[in-house]
Protein backbone atom coordinates (compact mmCIF):
# COMPACT_ATOMS: atom_id res chain seq x y z
CA UNK A 1 0.00 0.00 0.00
CA UNK A 2 1.27 3.48 -0.89
CA UNK A 3 0.66 6.45 1.43
CA UNK A 4 1.08 10.12 0.53
CA UNK A 5 2.18 13.09 2.63
CA UNK A 6 2.53 16.71 1.52
CA UNK A 7 4.89 18.68 3.78
CA UNK A 8 5.44 21.65 1.45
CA UNK A 9 3.34 23.91 3.70
CA UNK A 10 5.07 22.76 6.90
CA UNK A 11 8.07 24.43 8.50
CA UNK A 12 10.86 23.12 10.71
CA UNK A 13 10.58 20.92 12.75
CA UNK A 14 7.12 19.67 11.67
CA UNK A 15 8.47 18.64 8.25
CA UNK A 16 10.46 15.68 9.56
CA UNK A 17 8.20 15.20 12.62
CA UNK A 18 5.21 14.51 10.34
CA UNK A 19 7.21 12.11 8.16
CA UNK A 20 8.50 10.24 11.21
CA UNK A 21 5.01 9.94 12.75
CA UNK A 22 3.46 8.83 9.45
CA UNK A 23 6.12 6.12 8.97
CA UNK A 24 5.57 4.93 12.55
CA UNK A 25 1.91 4.28 11.74
CA UNK A 26 2.73 2.19 8.65
CA UNK A 27 3.52 -1.51 8.37
CA UNK A 28 6.88 -2.79 7.23
CA UNK A 29 7.07 -3.02 3.43
CA UNK A 30 4.54 -0.22 2.85
CA UNK A 31 5.59 2.81 0.83
CA UNK A 32 5.29 6.52 1.58
CA UNK A 33 5.43 9.22 -1.07
CA UNK A 34 6.43 12.61 0.34
CA UNK A 35 6.09 15.93 -1.48
CA UNK A 36 8.61 18.37 -0.05
CA UNK A 37 10.50 21.58 -0.76
CA UNK A 38 14.17 21.80 -1.58
CA UNK A 39 16.60 22.96 1.14
CA UNK A 40 16.29 21.68 4.71
CA UNK A 41 13.46 19.13 4.13
CA UNK A 42 15.12 17.67 1.03
CA UNK A 43 18.46 17.36 2.82
CA UNK A 44 17.16 15.92 6.05
CA UNK A 45 14.04 13.84 5.38
CA UNK A 46 15.75 11.19 3.17
CA UNK A 47 18.78 11.03 5.48
CA UNK A 48 16.62 10.66 8.59
CA UNK A 49 14.60 7.86 6.93
CA UNK A 50 17.74 5.96 5.92
CA UNK A 51 19.09 6.27 9.46
CA UNK A 52 15.98 4.48 10.68
CA UNK A 53 16.68 1.65 8.25
CA UNK A 54 14.03 2.60 5.68
CA UNK A 55 14.80 2.60 1.95
CA UNK A 56 14.66 5.79 -0.08
CA UNK A 57 13.60 4.34 -3.46
CA UNK A 58 13.58 7.55 -5.49
CA UNK A 59 13.92 11.33 -5.37
CA UNK A 60 12.18 13.04 -8.25
CA UNK A 61 12.60 16.79 -8.84
CA UNK A 62 9.44 18.58 -9.94
CA UNK A 63 9.11 21.93 -11.73
CA UNK A 64 8.58 24.35 -8.85
CA UNK A 65 11.58 23.54 -6.60
CA UNK A 66 9.54 20.74 -5.02
CA UNK A 67 10.60 17.11 -4.91
CA UNK A 68 8.74 13.83 -4.63
CA UNK A 69 10.50 11.17 -2.65
CA UNK A 70 9.45 7.55 -2.30
CA UNK A 71 10.31 5.72 0.92
CA UNK A 72 9.80 2.07 1.74
CA UNK A 73 9.40 1.13 5.37
Amino acid sequence: MKHFLDITKETCPMTFVKVKLQLAKMDSGEQLEVLLNEGEPLENVPRSCEEQGYKVLSIEPLDNSQHLILIQK
Binding site: K9, E10, T11, C12, P13, M14, F16, V17, V19, K20, L21, A24, N44, S48, E51, Q52
Partner: protein
Amino acid sequence: MNQPANDKKDISIVCFSGEFDKLLAAYTIATGAAATNRNVTMFFTFWGLNALKKERGRKPIGKDFLSRVFNWLMGGRNNLPLSRLNFGGASPKLMSGMMKKSNVAQLDELMDAATALGIRHFACEMSMHILGVSKDDLIDDVKEVVGVATFLNESENAHIIFI
Protein backbone atom coordinates in the same frame (compact mmCIF):
# COMPACT_ATOMS: atom_id res chain seq x y z
CA MET B 1 6.49 5.55 20.08
CA ASN B 2 9.68 4.15 21.60
CA GLN B 3 12.79 6.24 21.34
CA PRO B 4 15.49 4.93 18.97
CA ALA B 5 18.54 2.87 19.83
CA ASN B 6 21.47 4.22 17.82
CA ASP B 7 24.85 5.87 18.23
CA LYS B 8 23.58 9.45 18.00
CA LYS B 9 24.18 11.57 21.03
CA ASP B 10 21.12 11.96 23.27
CA ILE B 11 19.63 15.40 23.92
CA SER B 12 18.56 16.54 27.39
CA ILE B 13 16.83 19.87 27.75
CA VAL B 14 16.40 21.65 31.08
CA CYS B 15 13.26 23.77 30.78
CA PHE B 16 13.78 26.34 33.53
CA SER B 17 12.07 29.34 31.92
CA GLY B 18 8.31 29.40 31.83
CA GLU B 19 8.24 31.83 28.97
CA PHE B 20 6.25 31.16 25.84
CA ASP B 21 9.05 31.81 23.33
CA LYS B 22 11.67 29.88 25.30
CA LEU B 23 9.38 26.87 25.68
CA LEU B 24 8.70 27.09 21.97
CA ALA B 25 12.47 26.91 21.37
CA ALA B 26 12.80 23.98 23.79
CA TYR B 27 10.02 21.99 22.12
CA THR B 28 11.31 22.83 18.63
CA ILE B 29 14.74 21.41 19.49
CA ALA B 30 13.19 18.45 21.33
CA THR B 31 10.81 17.38 18.56
CA GLY B 32 13.38 18.09 15.82
CA ALA B 33 15.95 15.96 17.65
CA ALA B 34 13.49 13.12 18.27
CA ALA B 35 12.30 13.17 14.66
CA THR B 36 15.91 12.87 13.50
CA ASN B 37 16.41 9.76 15.62
CA ARG B 38 17.80 11.08 18.87
CA ASN B 39 16.70 10.12 22.37
CA VAL B 40 15.29 13.20 24.06
CA THR B 41 14.64 13.96 27.72
CA MET B 42 13.06 17.19 28.97
CA PHE B 43 13.51 18.18 32.60
CA PHE B 44 11.06 20.83 33.83
CA THR B 45 12.04 22.91 36.81
CA PHE B 46 10.82 26.14 38.44
CA TRP B 47 8.86 28.33 35.99
CA GLY B 48 9.06 25.65 33.30
CA LEU B 49 6.59 23.55 35.33
CA ASN B 50 3.80 26.02 34.45
CA ALA B 51 3.72 24.65 30.89
CA LEU B 52 2.95 21.17 32.23
CA LYS B 53 0.03 22.05 34.48
CA LYS B 54 -3.21 20.25 33.60
CA GLU B 55 -5.07 23.45 34.40
CA ARG B 56 -4.18 25.76 31.50
CA GLY B 57 -5.53 28.92 33.10
CA ARG B 58 -5.07 30.44 36.56
CA LYS B 59 -5.87 28.10 39.42
CA PRO B 60 -4.81 28.39 43.07
CA ILE B 61 -3.22 24.96 43.42
CA GLY B 62 -1.03 24.06 46.39
CA LYS B 63 -1.39 23.23 50.05
CA ASP B 64 -0.65 26.55 51.74
CA PHE B 65 -1.77 30.11 51.18
CA LEU B 66 1.48 31.34 49.58
CA SER B 67 1.79 28.53 47.06
CA ARG B 68 -1.88 28.97 46.11
CA VAL B 69 -1.33 32.69 45.49
CA PHE B 70 1.89 31.96 43.58
CA ASN B 71 0.27 29.35 41.35
CA TRP B 72 -2.69 31.59 40.67
CA LEU B 73 -0.37 34.44 39.67
CA MET B 74 1.78 32.22 37.43
CA GLY B 75 -1.12 30.41 35.78
CA GLY B 76 -0.72 27.60 33.28
CA ARG B 77 0.02 27.14 29.59
CA ASN B 78 -2.43 29.87 28.55
CA ASN B 79 -0.64 32.45 30.74
CA LEU B 80 2.96 31.94 29.62
CA PRO B 81 4.49 35.39 29.02
CA LEU B 82 6.80 36.38 26.19
CA SER B 83 10.41 36.89 27.37
CA ARG B 84 10.49 40.32 25.70
CA LEU B 85 7.77 42.82 24.78
CA ASN B 86 5.10 40.93 26.70
CA PHE B 87 2.76 43.93 26.99
CA GLY B 88 0.74 42.50 29.86
CA GLY B 89 0.20 39.15 28.15
CA ALA B 90 -1.07 40.52 24.82
CA SER B 91 2.04 39.61 22.85
CA PRO B 92 1.87 35.80 23.16
CA LYS B 93 -1.59 35.92 21.56
CA LEU B 94 -0.32 38.20 18.80
CA MET B 95 2.69 35.97 18.24
CA SER B 96 0.49 32.86 18.09
CA GLY B 97 -1.52 34.59 15.38
CA MET B 98 1.66 35.48 13.46
CA MET B 99 2.90 31.91 13.79
CA LYS B 100 -0.40 30.55 12.51
CA LYS B 101 -0.24 32.92 9.54
CA SER B 102 3.29 31.72 8.74
CA ASN B 103 2.24 28.08 9.20
CA VAL B 104 4.71 27.57 12.04
CA ALA B 105 3.78 24.93 14.62
CA GLN B 106 2.07 26.26 17.76
CA LEU B 107 3.20 25.22 21.25
CA ASP B 108 0.24 22.81 21.63
CA GLU B 109 1.08 21.15 18.33
CA LEU B 110 4.75 20.74 19.32
CA MET B 111 3.77 19.36 22.73
CA ASP B 112 1.43 16.83 21.07
CA ALA B 113 4.25 15.86 18.70
CA ALA B 114 6.61 15.42 21.66
CA THR B 115 4.10 12.99 23.20
CA ALA B 116 3.73 11.06 19.94
CA LEU B 117 7.51 10.87 19.52
CA GLY B 118 7.92 9.38 23.00
CA ILE B 119 9.99 12.22 24.44
CA ARG B 120 10.55 11.70 28.16
CA HIS B 121 9.24 14.42 30.47
CA PHE B 122 10.74 14.65 33.95
CA ALA B 123 9.47 17.10 36.57
CA CYS B 124 11.81 18.47 39.21
CA GLU B 125 10.95 17.20 42.67
CA MET B 126 12.54 20.13 44.50
CA SER B 127 10.81 22.94 42.62
CA MET B 128 7.47 21.11 42.77
CA HIS B 129 7.90 20.95 46.52
CA ILE B 130 8.65 24.70 46.75
CA LEU B 131 5.75 25.67 44.51
CA GLY B 132 3.33 23.21 46.12
CA VAL B 133 2.65 21.44 42.81
CA SER B 134 1.89 17.70 42.91
CA LYS B 135 2.23 15.12 40.12
CA ASP B 136 -1.57 15.03 39.86
CA ASP B 137 -1.50 18.72 38.89
CA LEU B 138 0.66 17.92 35.86
CA ILE B 139 -0.24 16.47 32.44
CA ASP B 140 0.05 12.72 31.86
CA ASP B 141 3.23 13.16 29.77
CA VAL B 142 5.10 13.56 33.05
CA LYS B 143 5.96 9.97 33.85
CA GLU B 144 8.40 10.68 36.65
CA VAL B 145 9.17 13.25 39.31
CA VAL B 146 12.92 13.16 39.82
CA GLY B 147 15.84 14.95 41.44
CA VAL B 148 18.90 16.40 39.77
CA ALA B 149 20.99 13.24 40.36
CA THR B 150 18.53 11.09 38.41
CA PHE B 151 18.36 13.67 35.63
CA LEU B 152 22.15 13.77 35.36
CA ASN B 153 22.43 9.97 35.45
CA GLU B 154 19.87 9.71 32.68
CA SER B 155 21.75 12.39 30.72
CA GLU B 156 25.21 10.88 31.16
CA ASN B 157 25.83 10.60 27.40
CA ALA B 158 23.68 13.52 26.35
CA HIS B 159 24.12 17.09 25.26
CA ILE B 160 22.50 19.09 28.04
CA ILE B 161 20.77 22.27 26.92
CA PHE B 162 19.53 24.81 29.46
CA ILE B 163 16.63 27.01 28.41
